[in-house]
């Protein structure tokens, strides 16, 4: 009986959360683009704690839309690392891997107050960082990622999802990645934009060659005012089967984005 009540409460909570989801997720990508000629500058600082040490990545992200359905951009990572003494890798700071991103929105179904869109995404990573084996920050190898993003946004319902495959020819870390995000706005929609939202985001990774997996949950808070957005999120693993040094503890994300 208790389980039934708990399930009902969870169901109602989830329905409430997804029924009012709006805005861009913090860690999951979205297929809704912001119009030709617009640019977005973003920082997405991550403080990651693993069994191997603490890593602070301060990337600079720039996105530009040459047409309404094409996005191009660059992600430049800058890493500050502090490995556990036993690893012998020490500490330091250096440029991480640089990634080039491309998105093509191939499906757009608009209706009054709602839209459903899908996009292809590709991320080509260059080995500009050291070979520190820090996922998505400083692998020091070429990487290719292709993914499919789907998003539905309306005044009453919203969800963004991403499914993709990351290929690393010089490593055994090929990965199938799935992300899903729900949002809960805490203020009524208004113009000019002023919105405070909670975000609930899940990320699942399946490392094909190693047969390892990682499932993480992130709780985020986002404040948008006009063209500026400030975000923070706390991410921790719900379940993981990884090599001992790579076991994740938690990550903190701090982000600012400006649309112009």
């Amino acid at each position: 009986m208790k389980l039934k009540h708990l399930t009902s409460i969870l169901g109602i909570t989830l329905f409430y959360q997804i029924s009012f989801a709006q805005g861009p997720p913090i860690l999951t990508d979205k297929p809704i683009l912001l119009g030709a000629g617009n640019s977005t500058v973003r920082t997405l600082t991550e403080i990651r704690h693993t069994n191997r040490g603490r890593f602070i990545n301060t990337p600079f992200i720039y996105h530009y839309l040459p047409t309404p359905n094409i996005l191009v951009g660059v992600h430049v990572n800058y890493l500050n690392y502090l490995f556990e003494f036993s690893s012998g890798l020490g500490n330091g700071r250096n440029l991480g891997d640089i990634s080039l991103i491309g998105k093509y929105q191939f499906l757009r179904k608009d209706q009054t107050g709602k839209t459903f869109r899908m996009a292809f995404k590709t991320l080509q990573t260059l080995p500009t960082g050291k070979k520190l084996d820090i996922d998505m920050i400083s692998m020091g190898t070429y990487q290719s990622y292709i993914g499919l993003i789907a998003g539905y946004e309306s005044i009453k319902f919203g969800i963004n999802q991403e499914l993709g495959y990351a290929l690393m020819p010089e490593s055994t870390k090929d990965e199938i990645r799935y992300k899903v995000a729900f949002g809960l706005p805490l203020l009524k929609p208004s113009f000019p934009l002023r919105q405070l939202s909670l975000y609930f985001e899940y990320q699942a990774s399946w490392f094909v060659e190693r047969r390892d997996y990682l499932l993480m949950y992130a709780q985020g808070l986002q404040y948008s005012h006009g063209r500026m957005t400030f975000e923070m999120a706390y991410q921790w693993p719900l379940s993981q089967e990884l090599a001992e040094p790579e076991i994740r503890a938690h990550s903190i994300f701090l982000s600012t984005r400006l649309v112009f």
Binding site: L34, A36, R108, K114, E153, L193
Partner: protein, 116 residues
Amino acid sequence: MKRILKFSFIIFAFSFVSNAQSSSERDAVEMKVDGLGCPFCSIGLVQKVKKLGDLKDIDTEYETGLFMFTISDKHEVSIEDLQNTVKKAGYTLVYASISRGSGEKVQFGERPETES
């Protein structure tokens, strides 16, 4: 003294008339845009529309998709301008009307019925 008062009155009257003219020389634009599912999504549309010229009184009703603003008539904004702007912003224009300061009205599509 009389001459100064007379001159001041003329200046005041002139500025009043010119102000009245400038406020009536704005075109009122109303559009129904499909796909505006969230306030953040409308940033791109607002950015694009602002490039049309000197915009004021911008307002959006997310439930109905209505997007309103006024623009100085010196920009001579047309329905084609609005169609191109909304297309570049990545949305779908369903209806648009421009009420000129001169009283003329041009329209594209049928105005949706709203509760208001």
